[in-house]
């Protein structure tokens, strides 16, 4: 699994820490200019902080702060005269290392001959003042995209290499910042020549490169002295306070997997109703790199100039081919942008495409906050995407651990729930849908689904159908039995997070789903609508009848019951379970379905669910096969390429393909 951790080069500060007086800023600008560099830094223009040429330190925005929120940006006046007391503005350094318009080449046609002349990369030497941690992360991201693969962008590489970087530690943050979540800031730790932390009267200076050291020891020497411990401490405390102020607004661990699992989430359509596909987010984004080539020709069409221009995946024509566009709808374009930035960027470049700078949030004219969208579409799950299953105990052919019956409950005339205690602690840590091999000497061991996990044990709900199950049902409090487990896989409840869940079950098939319902009810807000459809043979055969009332009243679960046959005293539904949702009004597009019951019933259910638009990859069934060992050694439970005990018992229909319901498999 891909994690949200960035790999960074080691900190390259080697030359101790220095203190630069405020007036030294002018010396710094002058020195960089004297070195033949065009100095770019923050300036105030059009009511915003804009990166532009700095000729003197007085061009910097002394005493200017900012307020930012989704769709909102205002400059403010600070009480002090700090030069870097704002967060980030609409422009990013991308404008300078990857300009909006760059000439690529010229082409000439003369008679039969054609000629192409590449344009040489811009040799301008630059210096950037005021680069934040999230912006250094953006350089890293752009380096990976444009200057580390097999094919490289020579113009970008030339500009990037020619830039001297004076970073600034963030001692201020806005509501749109989330570098902490993306692992990119607020601490500047690498990728700079000099790094400044602004204090009341001056700057703490870290040196990050030989070029930086040269400047410190040369032109700046007269304005600098070694920093005192108090200055070092104050600088660190200010940055730490910034980190605390930002918090962790976007739980990013596992976001890649979560997001890419939600390509058909209804929120894409909802956000597209707000999104006007203006592309501001991609223009303001410091890492968005998509471009188009614009060609300008002379009037005869013989001389052409090609220019690379910023484009955006929000442009209507961005994914156009001769037959039309692949992403005609705003929802397609929004999904492309967000899944690329936070998802597939990892697959392509090994990092996130987002640095957490928050520009796309501030500069979205309709105030869409990517963090909010990500949390709605791919919320963090308490259950890990691949829940770690507990190691089963007694997992060999010859072994069982002993548990004691501490409670029995007659569920129906032939079905009993046993509460077991004293078994290995592994059992109470089992996963939803797992089973145990249950043994009483004199009878064959049988696989029985765990119908509840308790603090110190489990419950098993057993229908006395044959000699062994009848013997189990006859156990009394104090009796012992043998257990192996917990075995098998689990219901993928994490797949249902943020979706509607439909549970369809019949007869004793409710038992392996009971823990799912307990888990749902315990964390109900993570799920959309939850509907249980349960069919029993007769009203007297309904399992957990009292408990079901609580699921409906307190658990927020819609419980629908039906029976196959009933006397006139029954005023509930009669008919097969699928009939309960034959005419229901819910749509299947956002539904995950868990189905358990006799295979013939599951087939009928799968057909009805498919008819409502639930795809095979979102329909999960649990299969019953003859099992003797439960650990994939005896061979009894083979079904196609699967051992049902080891690879199942829960499968998606997509996994099973056409072996589901096929005779004789």
């Amino acid at each position: 699994m891909i994690t949200a951790e960035l790999t960074r080069p080691e900190r390259t500060t080697t030359a101790g820490r220095w203190y630069l007086e405020r007036s030294g800023l002018e010396t710094l600008v002058a020195a960089l200019r004297a070195d033949g560099r065009t100095v770019i830094g923050p300036t105030v223009a059009d009511g915003a902080i804009v990166y532009d040429e700095i000729r003197a330190s007085s061009d910097l925005p002394h005493g200017v702060g900012d307020v930012q929120a989704a769709g909102k940006y205002r400059l403010t006046t600070r009480e002090d005269a700090r030069a870097f007391g704002y967060v980030v503005g609409p422009t990013s350094w991308k404008r300078w290392v990857f300009p909006p318009l760059v000439e690529l080449n010229t082409g000439m046609r003369a008679g039969h001959r054609v000629e192409f002349t590449p344009t040489r990369p811009d040799p301008t030497r630059l210096a950037f003042i005021g680069v934040r941690a999230c912006e250094i992360a953006a350089f890293d991201a752009q380096d990976r995209v444009l200057d580390s693969g097999h094919f490289r962008d020579a113009d970008y590489a030339a500009r990037r290499k020619a830039a001297f970087i004076v970073a600034v530690q963030c001692t201020t943050a806005e509501s749109t910042c989330f570098c902490t979540s993306m692992g990119t800031g607020p601490e500047v730790e690498h990728g700079f020549d000099l790094a400044l932390t602004e204090l009341d009267d001056g700057f703490l200076v870290d040196v990050g490169s030989p070029a930086g050291l040269e400047l410190v020891q040369g032109a700046l020497a007269g304005s600098m002295r070694p920093a005192t411990p108090v200055e070092v401490y104050t600088a660190a405390a200010d940055v730490a306070a910034t980190r605390a102020r930002i918090g962790d607004p976007l739980p990013a661990a596992g976001l890649h997997d979560r997001l890419l699992a939600q390509l058909d989430h209804p929120r894409w359509a909802q956000v597209a109703e707000r999104c006007i596909t203006c592309g501001n987010c991609t223009l303001a984004c410091p890492t968005c790199f998509c471009t188009s080539v614009i060609q300008t020709t002379d009037i005869e069409g013989n001389a052409a100039t090609n220019e690379r221009a910023w484009d955006s995946c929000f442009s209507p024509g961005f994914a156009r081919v001769a037959g039309g566009s692949f992403r005609t709808r705003p929802r397609d374009r929004y999904r492309q942008w967000l899944t690329h930035k936070f998802g597939t960027w990892w697959d392509q470049f090994g990092t996130s495409g987002c640095t957490g700078c928050g520009r796309c949030i501030t500069w979205c004219p309709v105030g869409i906050d990517v963090r909010e969208e990500l949390m709605a579409i791919a919320p963090p799950v308490a259950l890990s995407p691949e829940p770690a299953r507990v190691e089963p105990v007694a997992a060999s052919f010859d072994d069982f651990v002993v548990a004691q019956v501490v409670g029995t409950r007659q569920e129906t005339a032939d079905t009993v729930t046993l509460t077991l205690s004293g078994a290995d602690p592994a059992f109470s840590k089992g996963s939803l849908g797992q089973f145990a091999m249950v043994a009483i000497p004199g009878f064959p061991p049988l696989p029985i689904s765990i119908s509840r996990f308790t603090v110190d044990g489990i419950e098993l709900t057993i229908r006395g159908a044959g000699p062994a199950t009848k013997a189990m049902c006859a156990l009394k409090i104090g009796d012992q039995l043998g257990l192996r487990g917990p075995l098998g896989n689990n219901w993928p409840l994490d797949r249902a997070v943020g979706r509607d869940l439909v549970i369809v079950t019949g007869g004793i098939g409710l038992a392996p789903l009971r823990p799912v319902i307990h888990a749902l009810a315990a964390d109900r807000r993570r799920f959309g609508d939850v509907r249980l459809y349960y069919g029993a043979r007769t009203p007297a055969d309904i399992l957990y009848h009292e408990e079901m009332r609580a699921w409906a009243s307190r658990g927020g679960i819609e419980v629908n019951l039906t029976v196959d046959r009933a006397g006139p005293e029954w005023d509930g539904n009669v008919g097969v379970v699928t009939q309960l949702f034959d005419h229901a009004t819910w749509e299947g597009a956002n539904v995950v379905a868990f189905v358990c019951g006799p295979e013939r019933m599951m087939q009928a259910t799968a057909n009805t669910l498919a008819g409502r638009g639930v795809t095979n990859s979102r329909i999960f069934v649990t299969l019953e096969r003859h099992m003797e060992c439960g650990i994939g050694l005896c061979g009894h439970c083979q079904m196609g390429k699967y051992f049902v005990c080891r690879d199942g018992p829960v499968f998606s229909l997509a996994q099973l393909g056409d072996i589901f319901g096929r005779e004789g498999i």
């Binding site: 709900t461 199950t469 006397g567 005023d571 008919g575």
Partner: protein
Amino acid sequence: MGDTAALVAALNATWFGSGLPPAAQTRLAELAHEEEYPGGTVLLTEGEVAEDVGIVLKGRIALRTLVPERGMVTILTIEPGDIWGWSAIVPPFRGTSTVVTIEPTTSVVFEGAALRIALREDSVLASAIYPRILVAVSRRLAASRLQLLDLFAHDATAGA
């Protein structure tokens, strides 16, 4: 006859009545009236001539059959949106089960004889209605087959 527009709206809100051609919808509504029944009302008795066809709007109806020595057994319950009394338009026009309301129920009701005449004379109506009758009956047939299998009788272990 009642308010035709209201009946069209009521029909449109049901599975059976939604999406019908406007002409068929209006014609059907002209033949219909709305009825409210208290719980326990017998709408049709098994084996007897089926006078009315209905679509449940609210409430619940049971289809029951008499089994000697076991009494009345409920075979199926009908929910809002679904049809009852289809025997009234399918020969020999006799009920295949006893139809009883099991709670206060509101239904759109058509007089069987009038509906039969309309279906014979109005091919647009007939071509809209008969496929739906067929869908309703075939669903019940498929469901009855599953019930006949008595699947839960042999279902011993849960899942695994």
